[in-house]
C-alpha cells in the first residue's frame, strides 16, 4: 500500500470517530446547564439526543433523567432511567459491527453502558423515584439491582474479592433497600438489610438503626459533590478516574434545619457511599488490553520508522514513513473511551428524621462550605408512612423552593 493510500486510511480513521452530531453537542451543553442549576434548559437540550438510539443512548438518557430528577419531573426521569435500565440489563448490544469497530477503530463506537458503579447508580436513582412515589415494590427491585450491578467488579471468594470492597462502599443501596422492606411490612428483611449495613460499615450503625428508621416520617436524600471524572494518561490509551478520595479530602457533613430548628442528628449523618473511592476500582476489560497492545505496537512502529531513517545508510523513505504511518494509525485507534456519566455526585446522604405531620420548611446546608445550602418551603410530611425528598445540592441552586414544584402533580393524583 502506498503512502497516499495510508494517508487516506489515516484520515478516514481520524474523521470517523470525530463526527459529533448537533444533538450530541446540545446534550453536552445541557450538561453544562445542569451544573449551572438550570434544569429545565438541561432537559430541553438533552432530550433530543436521548431519543437517538445510538452509541450514546444510555449515557444521554442517564443525563436526561438526572436533570429531570433535580427538576422533580419524575415521569421524565423514570422513563429515561427505564430506557437506560433496559439496555444496561441487556447483553450483546455491541455484537457485530460495533464490537469489531470498537476493537479496531475507536472504542467510542461501542454502545456505552457505563462502569459498574454508574450502572448501579442508574438503578439507585430509579429506586429513589419509586420510593418517593411510595411504590416500594419497584423501589426494592431497583435497589436490589443496584447491588447486583456491582458484581461486575468480581465476586470471587478469595483475597482479590473486589466486590466485597465495593459493596462496603455502596451500603447506600442496602440502606434504602432496608427502608423499602420496612415500608412493605417485611420487618424481617428490613432488619437483615440494616444488619448488613452495620456489618459492612460499623460507623453507620446509628443511621441503620431499625427503630430510628421505623419512626422517621421524613427522609431526605441529599446528593452532594462532584463525582469521579474520567481521564486518560498522556498516551490516551489508559483511562482512570480522578480525583481520588485522598486528593479531594474528606466529605463535608450536612446540617438539617426544620422550621428554623437544627435537627439533632448526632452520628446519624455519615456518607454511605463515596463514588470517588468506588471509581478507583475500575475493572480491566478485554478492550483495555487491545488498546494497550495497539498503543505499545504503535509506539514501536513509530520508533522503528525513525530508527530506520536514522540508522540505515540508504534509508528507503517509503519504509520509514510506512512504519511511522502504521504506528500513528495504531496510536490513533488506541485512544480510550472517555465517555462517562459526569453528573454523578460524590456522595448521597440519607437522612431519616421524625417531625410532626404537616407542612414544614426544611433547609440543608454544609456549614464547612458556605454557599452550599438549599431551602424548601411547605414540605409535606404525612401522618402515616413516610415522605422522601430528593435534594440536589449545588452552589447555584440554593432556593428557596416551594413544595410542590411545578413538575409535581397535585396531591392525590396518580403519577406514572
Amino acid at each position: 500500500m502506498g503512502l497516499s493510500s495510508k494517508l487516506i486510511v489515516l484520515a478516514l480513521l481520524a474523521l470517523l470517530p470525530g463526527c459529533v452530531s448537533q444533538a450530541q453537542r446540545d446534550a453536552d451543553e445541557g450538561v453544562a446547564a445542569y451544573y449551572m442549576g438550570d434544569y429545565p434548559r438541561a432537559i430541553q437540550l438533552i432530550k433530543p439526543a436521548a431519543a437517538k438510539t445510538n452509541e450514546n443512548f444510555v449515557l444521554n438518557n442517564d443525563r436526561l433523567a438526572m436533570a429531570a430528577l433535580a427538576a422533580y419531573d419524575l415521569t421524565t426521569a423514570e422513563n429515561a432511567f427505564v430506557r437506560s435500565y433496559e439496555v444496561i440489563n441487556s447483553v450483546g448490544v455491541n455484537d457485530g459491527g460495533r464490537s469489531l469497530g470498537a476493537a479496531l477503530v475507536s472504542e467510542n463506537i461501542k454502545v456505552w453502558k457505563g462502569e459498574p458503579f454508574e450502572r448501579a447508580m442508574v438503578n439507585f436513582y430509579l429506586g429513589v423515584i419509586y420510593y418517593m412515589r411510595h411504590d416500594y415494590g419497584n423501589a426494592r427491585g431497583a435497589f436490589e439491582n443496584a447491588l447486583f450491578k456491582l458484581r461486575d467488579y468480581g465476586e470471587q471468594s478469595d483475597k482479590n474479592d473486589q466486590y466485597h470492597d465495593v459493596e462496603s462502599n455502596f451500603v447506600l443501596a442496602y440502606l434504602m433497600l432496608a427502608r423499602s422492606y420496612q415500608q412493605l411490612g417485611r420487618t424481617d428483611l428490613a432488619q437483615k438489610n440494616f444488619d448488613r449495613v452495620t456489618a459492612l460499615r460499623p460507623d453507620l450503625a446509628a443511621l441503620a438503626d431499625v427503630s430510628i428508621n421505623a419512626e422517621a416520617n421524613l427522609v431526605l436524600i441529599i446528593d452532594f459533590g462532584r463525582g469521579p471524572q474520567k481521564e486518560a494518561n498522556g498516551d490516551g490509551a489508559f483511562v482512570g478516574f480522578r480525583p481520588t478520595p485522598r486528593e479531594q479530602g474528606p466529605i463535608p457533613l450536612p446540617a438539617v434545619t426544620v422550621d428554623g430548628r437544627r435537627q439533632d442528628l448526632q452520628n446519624r449523618i455519615r456518607p454511605p457511599v463515596d463514588l470517588l473511592a468506588i471509581a478507583q476500582d475500575r475493572r480491566w476489560e478485554s478492550i483495555d488490553t487491545i488498546r494497550a497492545v495497539k498503543s505499545v505496537l504503535g509506539t514501536g512502529l513509530i520508533a522503528a520508522g525513525i530508527a530506520d531513517a536514522a540508522i540505515r545508510r540508504r534509508p528507503d523513505p517509503a519504509v520509514s514513513l510506512g512504519l511511522i504511518a502504521g504506528g500513528l494509525i495504531l496510536k490513533a485507534t488506541s485512544q480510550g473511551d472517555l465517555r462517562q456519566w459526569e453528573m454523578l455526585p460524590r456522595t448521597v446522604f440519607v437522612v431519616p428524621v421524625h417531625v410532626p405531620p404537616g407542612k414544614h420548611d426544611v433547609t440543608v446546608e454544609f456549614p464547612a462550605l458556605p454557599g452550599y445550602r438549599q431551602r424548601w418551603l411547605g414540605i409535606d410530611v404525612p401522618e402515616k408512612g413516610d415522605a422522601a425528598y430528593y435534594i440536589h445540592i449545588d452552589r447555584y441552586n440554593s432556593g428557596p423552593f416551594q413544595w410542590p414544584p411545578a413538575a409535581v402533580p397535585p396531591a392525590g393524583k396518580v403519577v406514572g
Binding site: S4, S5, S90, G97, G141, N145, R151
Partner: protein, 189 residues
C-alpha cells in the same frame, strides 16, 4: 493498482460502520417481554374460561363482577413500571371481554375510579354510593429467583394469577406461568 489494494480496507471500514445496529436493536436480556405477555395472558384466559369452578360460579350468580389490579412486583432485582404492571392483567381483561363478554363484568379498581372522577367531574368528590361493588378480584403476583454474576444473569420467573372472592377471601381460580431466562455476558458487556 494502489486503489485496488485500498479497496479491501475501505470495504472493511464500510462494513464496520454499516454493521452498527442501534442500542435497542441488538442484544437481549432476561426481562419479561412482549412474547411473555402474549403467551402468559393467552394461557390465563384459556385457563379461566375452562375452569369448572369459574363456570359453576357464573351459572350460579350470573356474570362475575371483577375488579383487576396491576401486578404486584415481587421480582428479585427487577422493576415492573406501572404501565407494564397494568398490561399484564389488562390484557387478560381485554381478551375475556372480547371472547366471553356475557360471562364477566369489569369494574374499575378504586384508584382508577377516583382518579378518573377527579379528572372528569366538576363536583366535590365524596363517596360514590351508586358505584357497583365488585365480587371478585383478578390479581397477579410476579416473583423470581435471580442469579447475577460478572459472567451473566439468569432469572426463573413464576407469574401467579388468582381470581379471589372479595367476600369470602376464597380463591376461585389460580394458575401460573413459569419461564427461565438467561443471558451470558460477552465482549464489551
Amino acid at each position: 493498482m494502489k486503489h485496488q489494494r485500498l479497496t479491501p480496507l475501505l470495504l472493511l471500514l464500510a462494513g464496520l460502520f454499516s454493521g452498527c445496529t442501534s442500542a435497542v436493536e441488538s442484544g437481549h436480556n432476561t426481562l419479561l417481554n412482549s412474547v411473555d405477555l402474549v403467551q402468559m395472558t393467552d394461557k390465563m384466559v384459556r385457563s379461566i374460561v375452562a375452569d369448572a369452578q369459574v363456570q359453576a360460579a357464573i351459572s350460579k350468580v350470573g356474570p362475575l363482577k371483577i375488579v383487576i389490579q396491576p401486578v404486584d412486583n415481587q421480582l428479585t432485582a427487577e422493576i415492573l413500571p406501572r404501565g407494564q404492571a397494568e398490561a399484564f392483567t389488562a390484557r387478560v381483561r381485554a381478551l375475556l371481554s372480547q371472547k366471553n363478554p356475557q360471562q364477566f363484568v369489569w369494574i374499575l379498581n378504586r384508584e382508577e375510579f377516583y382518579d378518573l372522577r377527579g379528572k372528569e367531574l366538576d363536583v366535590p368528590l365524596g363517596p360514590a354510593p351508586e358505584a357497583i361493588n365488585p365480587q371478585f378480584a383478578l390479581t397477579a403476583v410476579f416473583s423470581s429467583l435471580t442469579q447475577e454474576t460478572s459472567k451473566g444473569r439468569s432469572d426463573f420467573y413464576v407469574c401467579r394469577y388468582e381470581l379471589s372472592d372479595l367476600q369470602t377471601r376464597g380463591v376461585l381460580w389460580s394458575d401460573s406461568y413459569k419461564v427461565k431466562k438467561s443471558a451470558v455476558k460477552g465482549f464489551l458487556d
